[in-house]
């Protein structure tokens, strides 16, 4: 019972915190340099892991699907299957999970450490609102970066699938692309995937900055807050993915 009340209290605190962040975002357009700096540490530095992971996920998908498809003589649909699974599911979801591990944890640790070393209270003493100055740029940067990362993940994955499917396994190159262009719908498949990644970016960034801001200001507290960020945002992404898929692709 007490645990439930604690949980609800945290949820309420998180929601109020989110409202404060959203209220602070319009101010950021006056100081956009802050956001650019954060897009660098949140987005650009996550790029490498996204590129490598996307390439390998696409290549493994092509290998696995080719194995099954040859038993039905349907290798020509390989490109379509790789494209659909990446654009609809794996692109947004795996990019969000990697993003939570690579960028979300870093956000929490950074903000948590700022709190533990009393930098946040220092800012408040100087009448600078830490939510406006520290939290909101990080939240906005995460929210903007993930859709781009997910799109890059899907595109690289399709290229990886092409490399394995066409160059290695000998699927016809024309069939690979023509099946994709005939069956993948831009609005139903690609745009819905982008909407998914926007929702995931919102959730992961929110959880990451909230856990950092709300952590117990000790080294132990920062450590457990970082762990919670990764665990909670991964679970939230997977759960939300089920809900969004059920709504979008019904």
């Amino acid at each position: 019972m007490k645990a439930l009340i604690n949980m609800l209290t945290r949820l309420g605190r998180g929601s109020l915190f989110l409202i404060k962040i959203l209220a602070g975002i319009p101010q950021l357009f006056l100081r956009f340099n802050l956001v650019i700096r954060q897009v660098y540490s949140v987005g650009v530095q996550t790029l490498l892991i996204i590129l490598v992971a996307g390439l390998f996920v696409g290549m493994v998908l092509a290998l696995q699907l080719h194995y099954t498809l040859t038993t039905f003589g349907a290798e020509d649909t390989l490109g379509l299957l790789v494209d659909l699974s990446l654009v609809r599911e794996l692109g947004p979801v795996v990019a969000a999970l990697l993003f939570a591990g690579r960028a979300g944890s870093a956000l929490t640790a950074e903000i948590g450490l700022m709190k533990a070393t009393e930098q946040l209270s220092g800012l408040e003493m100087m009448a600078v609102d830490p939510i406006e100055r520290i939290i909101a740029p990080r939240f906005l940067a995460g929210f903007l970066s993930l859709p781009l990362l997910a799109a890059i993940f899907s595109a690289v994955g399709i290229l990886g699938g092409y490399m394995v499917g066409v160059d290695l396994l000998g699927v016809d190159s024309g069939a690979f692309w023509s099946q994709i262009q005939a069956k993948v719908d831009f609005y139903d498949d690609v745009l819905n995937g982008v909407i998914k990644s926007i929702v995931f970016g919102f959730i992961v960034s929110w959880i990451a900055v909230f856990e950092g801001y709300d952590c117990v200001p000790t080294s132990e507290g920062v450590a457990s807050a970082t762990t919670r960020t990764v665990v909670h945002s991964s679970l939230a992404v997977l759960g939300m993915d089920f809900v969004l898929t059920a709504i979008m692709f019904n």
Binding site: Y40, L148, S154, A155, Q181
Partner: protein, 157 residues
Amino acid sequence: MFKSIELSVGIFVGAGLAALFMLAMQASNLSSLSSDGFYEVSARFDNIGGLRVKSAVKVSGVKVGQVKEIDYDSSTFEAVVTMQVEEKYSQFPRDTIASIFTSGLLGEQYVALEPGGDEKLLENQSEIRLTQSAMVLEQLIGQFLFSKASEEKDAPF
């Protein structure tokens, strides 16, 4: 220092937009959708089989449009299929035949238009009178077995 950060963020955003562009143009149907206008014709079928919204409409095997809407008319007990055909292929005679075919043996179904010889042309919102329903595999097998059985009965032993 900040200049190089700005540059790498610019490259990142550019790469993200390029990836989206590639997904749109190369990896989805956006490039094959025509930006021209469409005009609509409808046709009535006894049975549409596995035809669905967005199935292709083809003439001589060339895709000229897609199925926009499928409805059921409960007064005539027929399926009403509304098709969008691209404006540039607007030269169909009024006695065009619409049939539902299957691409390949078990592939998906599409509407095939076969132009007739009438001098008047199909207009927007008009209806194709001559239609041929989808083949249902079970019915075909049933007919085949039936004719086989009656053959054997007539056979002069």
